[in-house]
């Protein structure tokens, strides 16, 4: 039966592309689909673009492809990446310049139309409320503070770019799994109403979109049993024309692909597994079956699909103040008690200097900074060391910066035995996330695909 082999690329902006080399060299793949955009990433890219309008894409794009293309080109491997972020045209510009330098002739496709910030008023004028998807809140409360708004597109325009001969497809925001669904639809000739096949495709994409999380990384089971994480392989899928798929990884790589590592990734960031909504299909994961058919090989079958939703999800980001933070460490004995005393001193002084914070968080690293109120309060007397971390949210950046200046003097004028102050940490802008919905036709009429030949 006809099939296509696809490698999982990055799982986020900042992830390692070293394991992708193994997938290309030894995994016999035809495509690499790479997810650079976590929900948080657009907030980071927005800050880049604010500084420099020619930025706003993930800048790992060029160094990653510079490293991988020499392996990929002789094997005919194509790339589909959402590295375009908030500025796919600038990403293509940067890539074309690099390809020219390498003397490589390739076709680069770009998908545009996901960015809808400039269209908010127009969308509202057509009667789309754009209220918060979860809370129902009116968007008017954040309208003036919006910095970006991106719709999650489906696989259609990506398939269009492949049909036009693109060797590299660059997108902005698309549903993560759509990066993977596109080559399946293109290579296997699936129709857009073959819901069960599309559902299988989305499940496979979802399993592959977080790189090492499918192959034994961040494994909540017996993590010690996962071999050689230093050389972890990223997941590879072989998908057949009928939708059946086998998940594996390149021979000789570390990590593990089995029922347990894959089922953890299956439900990752999923809400209702019987209705996993994507732009291309409404997926029911509860009908699927995963079976280990060999070492590091799992067959995935039986996901079912229902027609695609009438709306697309938009995620917007808005300014929500600045975080000021500072840290200071204390040594045994009584490390926690000292850190708590220091916290009290700082909070008292915050009041006296009139530091205007909307919100204050006190954490003790080494005790409760990760589990918060669920940390086990027993045996705290004997802790070897505890770091106090205070964070404030202020509407003004200078206000947030005041916090650091209250912690440093504690070295000489606070409880004894500090173990290194964290130093002054520059306040960081905080972005609120605004998820909402819009009728898909209002978004899709603006979606454009362009493919350009570059290089040599």
């Amino acid at each position: 039966m006809q099939s296509v082999r696809i490698a999982g690329g990055l799982g986020f902006y900042g992830d390692s592309w070293r394991p992708i080399r193994a997938s290309i060299e030894r995994g016999d793949v035809q495509y690499v689909a790479s997810d650079h955009l976590a929900e948080l990433t657009l907030a980071i890219l927005q800050k880049d673009r604010q500084r420099d309008p020619s930025l706003g894409y993930t800048r790992d794009l060029v160094p990653m492809l510079a490293d991988l293309l020499p392996l990929a080109i002789p094997r005919g491997v194509k790339f589909i990446l959402n590295a375009g972020g908030l500025n796919p045209l600038a990403a293509r510009e940067a890539l074309l310049t690099a390809l020219k330098k390498f003397g490589v002739r390739l076709k680069v496709g770009v998908v545009l139309g996901d960015a809808v910030l400039e269209r908010i008023d127009e969308l509202q004028a057509t009667g789309v409320a754009l209220s918060h998807m979860d809370t129902g809140q009116d968007i008017a409360s954040v309208r003036e503070r919006l910095l970006f708004a991106s719709a999650y597109l489906g696989a259609h325009p990506l398939v269009e770019a492949l049909e036009a001969g693109a060797d590299i497809v660059l997108t902005g925001r698309v549903a993560d799994a759509a990066l993977f669904l596109a080559p399946m639809v293109y290579e296997l000739g699936w129709r857009w109403d073959e819901w069960d096949k599309l559902a299988q495709g989305i499940v496979v994409g979802h399993l592959l979109e977080c790189s090492g999380q499918a192959t034994g990384g961040n494994f909540g089971g017996d993590w010690r049993s996962i071999p050689d994480l230093a050389h972890i392989g990223y997941p590879i899928a072989e998908v057949f024309a009928n939708g059946d798929a086998v998940i594996s990884k390149a021979p000789g790589t570390g990590g593990r692909v089995n029922f347990d590592t894959l089922r953890e990734q299956l439900l990752y960031e999923v809400h209702n597994p019987a209705h996993y909504l994507t732009p291309d299909v409404d997926v029911d994961m509860t009908t699927l079956h995963m079976e280990e058919i060999g070492p590091d090989q799992v067959r995935v079958t039986g996901a079912s699909g229902r027609p695609a939703p009438a709306t697309l999800k938009i995620v917007a980001g808005y300014e929500d103040g600045y975080m000021g933070q500072a840290m200071i460490g204390y040594a045994w004995p009584d490390a926690l008690a000292k850190a708590q005393a220091a916290a009290q001193i700082v909070q008292q002084q915050m009041q006296e200097v009139g530091l205007r914070s909307e919100e204050t968080l006190v954490e003790y690293l080494g005790y409760n900074s990760i589990h918060g109120p669920l940390a086990d309060p027993r045996h705290t007397e004997e802790l070897n060391e505890v770091y106090l971390r205070i964070a404030v949210r202020c509407m003004d950046k200078r206000e947030a910066a005041k916090l650091g200046r209250l912690l440093t003097p504690l070295g000489l004028s606070g409880p004894p035995f500090i173990g290194g102050a964290g130093g002054m940490i520059e306040p960081r802008q905080l972005l609120g996330i605004w998820p909402t919905l819009a009728p898909r036709e209002l978004i899709e009429e603006y979606v454009r695909v362009s493919v350009e030949e570059a290089g040599a």
Binding site: E39, L267, H271, N272, D320, E363, P373, R393
Partner: protein
């Protein structure tokens, strides 16, 4: 007799805006049925008092022997807005494994 969930299940959590999901994975149907009875949405909500401000929903995926919990208002406004160290809620999974349930 009471047992801590860490002895019975594996877990993974993830973020989406201000919501987190935590999936619990068990080795067999008997443990699945036990968790179905003991680890209710209400109990999970009570367990996360002080962290989760909204409701908790539970979804079932018996085909992979898993229960999936969606925690609303779990991430101090969401990763790009949170003051917490664990901005992405990646460790909420292990925090749930602290829960004690009746196994007799």
């Amino acid at each position: 007799m009471k047992t801590q969930l860490v002895r019975l299940a594996d877990a993974r959590s993830g973020d989406k805006g201000d919501k987190a999901n935590i999936a619990l994975f068990v080795p067999d149907r008997a443990t699945y049925d036990l968790l179905l009875r003991e680890v209710t949405a209400e109990r999970v909500r009570a367990h996360f008092a002080g962290i989760v401000t909204g409701q908790v929903e539970r979804f079932e995926a018996p085909n992979v022997l898993a229960l999936n919990f969606v925690l609303h208002g779990a991430l101090n406004g969401g990763a790009s807005r949170s003051l917490r160290s664990d901005t992405l809620g990646k460790s909420l999974s292990s925090a749930l494994l602290r829960m004690e349930i009746e196994v007799s």
